[in-house]
């Protein structure tokens, strides 16, 4: 965790740091909200369930430098050219309804979290990932296939060609 002392880390309390370090050691158990209704009363309880896809959880190879071994998963994997098209990776950082997990939940460092945030937004705009419930759709042009090209090629700038009053 201390591989990079990001400003976020300073705000966390000691036990949270301890919680983050033991990220890989044991299998997590999740809580799910269960609502039971019978004639008189409604019971809401947090039920513990297994975290899904257990056999496929992977841990990057141990690194000699002790501090680096505790770095955030994406930094340890150092995948080159992580792009908005790698949705099987990005999918693991979003909730079931499509919104991005918070920084603490995602277990990423600040820099990688920002990168994943932009990539998830791009993927949602190109409709590769499911869009969150109240996603702002401005017009019919959002429903067509789009992609982000890098470096951006500004092909013949139409806005300079067409008179302003015709800009719908």
């Amino acid at each position: 965790m201390f591989a990079r002392v990001s400003n976020l880390a300073l705000k966390w309390t000691q036990n949270e740091l301890k919680a983050r370090t033991s990220l890989y050691d044991s299998v997590r158990t999740l809580k799910q909200i269960k609502i039971h209704e019978n004639e008189k009363q409604i019971v809401v309880e947090g039920e513990r369930i297994e975290s899904p896809r257990k056999p496929y959880l992977v841990k990057p190879p141990p690194v000699a430098d002790e501090k680096a071994s505790k770095a955030c998963p994406l930094c340890r994997l150092d995948l080159k050219r992580l792009d908005y098209t790698d949705i099987l990776i990005l999918r693991q950082f979003i909730n079931s309804d499509g919104t991005l997990m918070s920084l603490q939940d995602s277990g990423l460092c600040g820099r990688k979290y920002k990168l994943v945030q932009t990539l998830v937004n791009k993927a949602q705009k190109c409709r590769l990932l499911p869009r969150p419930p109240h996603y702002q759709v401005y017009g019919p042009w959002d429903n067509f296939n789009t992609y982000y090209d890098w470096p951006p090629r500004y092909r013949d700038q139409p806005m300079r060609v067409i008179r302003p009053e015709y800009w719908k």
Binding site: Y24, L57, P61, L79, D83
Partner: protein, 209 residues
């Protein structure tokens, strides 16, 4: 270029001059070296078909032609039986020679004040021609077999499976990216075992206990 070239309109009629063309590149006839029917490959056939000499019996300019006729014409025709020689005396006309070839071309030539030996040389020159006009050669070489391995064709480098599979075909049409994407890198790292699976390590610890 609008229409064929206009030949110089001198006193001479048009169709006699067609074995020569001169002037700038655009005007000249251009082409490749050609032999009629691979002449000389199997055997050599003299392309000269007939020669007509027009001369004046008394004129001074036809003196050379008259001498040539007295001495050399008979020997020439004995040596070259395939060539027909016509002698046409024309009073008060300049001496000319018209040679016609097997491919239909003909050539007019003025023999004014030429000596006997000069006419002999010109006749030999005209005899050994192929009847093709003198041109500007676009290429100095010409071959009947330009390609040994067979010229290129669209189906040469096309893989054979394309004939069999019905298109659109994934393998033939998909985009080939030179660089691996992050997903592929992760899958390869997982496959070649460089990513240890946590659960396996945990299981081994429990076995040990």
């Amino acid at each position: 270029m609008r229409g064929r070239v206009v030949k110089p309109s001198f006193a001479v009629p048009q169709n006699y001059y067609n074995l020569y063309s001169f002037g700038t590149h655009r005007i000249q006839l251009s082409g490749f070296t050609e032999q009629p029917f691979y002449n000389g490959l199997g055997r050599y056939v003299c392309q000269l078909q007939r020669v007509t000499f027009k001369f004046c019996k008394f004129g001074g300019s036809s003196k050379g032609v008259r001498e040539f006729i007295e001495t050399d014409v008979v020997d020439f025709s004995r040596q070259h039986p395939g060539v027909v020689v016509y002698l046409k005396p024309r009073r008060h006309k300049t001496p000319i020679m018209v040679t016609e070839y097997l491919n239909g071309n003909s050539h007019w030539m003025n023999l004014r004040n030429m000596t006997k030996s000069e006419i002999k040389l010109w006749l030999d020159y005209m005899r050994t021609r192929s009847g093709e006009p003198i041109k500007r050669y676009r290429k100095k070489i010409k071959t009947e077999w330009p390609s040994i391995q067979g010229p290129w064709n669209p189906f040469l480098n096309m893989p054979s499976f394309v004939n069999v599979t019905d298109l659109p075909n994934e393998q033939r049409g998909a985009f080939i990216s030179e660089k691996k994407s992050a997903t592929q890198q992760l899958l390869e790292m997982a496959k070649d075992g460089s990513l240890k699976n946590i659960l396996k390590t945990n299981v081994s610890q429990e076995d040990k206990e």
